[in-house]
Symmetry: C2
Subunit: 169 residues, 2 copies
């Protein structure tokens, strides 16, 4: 899942520029057509953010999906796996292993609810809530550093666009 970035720079730096290859100097690959689409920029930017996020979470023993699930469980105590899967936009079968992992790490509990014995009420343990605090702080501070150079107006416009794209579906 972590994606390597910045290879173009590595390539460009590592050229000895001898007489032999001076002629066919590897001209940088043009992405003039791709860059007309916002989705292209979004994929590249998302790769960067996702890699950064993964490295932030790794020392805490979390991945992006387990982080997302843990945060939603802490913020919404007692929710069901179906609700959680809906909130995460993933299929119910794929959530099972995520909840399994959180449960095995004793970060959450699957509790039976008497009124509907088909469902589990998901609740975080104390350790889960403590990890939540550390993980959320780490994620936000990491991202703040990554976005430090932008002004609030730019970020607000970006957030607005991204949110509205999501809303339309």
């Amino acid at each position: 899942m972590p994606q390597i970035s910045g290879k173009v720079a590595k390539r460009a730096a590592g050229r000895p520029a001898t007489k032999a290859n001076a002629a066919q100097e590897p001209r940088p690959v043009s992405d003039k057509t791709l860059r007309k689409a916002l989705g292209y920029h979004m994929k590249r930017a998302f790769n960067v953010i996702q890699t950064d996020l993964s490295e932030t979470l790794k020392p805490l023993g979390l991945r992006m999906l387990t982080y997302t699930a843990l945060v939603l469980i802490v913020d919404n105590p007692g929710l069901s796996q179906s609700q959680l899967a809906d909130a995460m936009d993933i299929e119910r079968p794929n959530l099972v292993v995520i909840v399994d992992e959180l449960e095995q790490n004793e970060l959450i509990l699957r509790e039976r609810v008497p009124s509907d014995r088909r469902t589990y009420a998901l609740n975080a343990t104390l350790a889960g809530r403590q990890l939540y605090e550390r993980a959320v702080a780490a994620v936000l501070s990491h991202e703040a550093r990554l976005l430090a150079r932008f002004d609030a107006g730019q970020l607000e416009a970006t957030k607005t666009v991204l949110q509205s794209i999501r809303a339309e579906g």
Copy 2:
């Protein structure tokens, strides 16, 4: 790869609201903590755009990766697989099957270059260039429809932020 979206709406719509469940009406799941991070909005927005893109490309027999590769090959005739992999930010081994697929569909050619017989010069066929035209037009018009409601300033700010994120790595 296409991700289902809009499930929350489906769920909310399908409730009969009888006496029994009126009490524990499924309150919408709160993402108040997650939404503090721009990466969260980016993932959701990217899912929407990616799903839209995949559906746009499917009738043309392309996926996101084969589309990206085809566009870069048409725009950069004769480039090598290493250059292409670098431009796409994927590992060289993973590019092989993509180039295989484009070649089997007779959209591109792997041509030996005499000056360096280790590399292939990738070039699009006539069919490849024709499909390129149709695919690029389809992608841009689809995205234009998806982004129609935003003004140019918002989109420009978004593009600037996304590009700079990518540049920093």
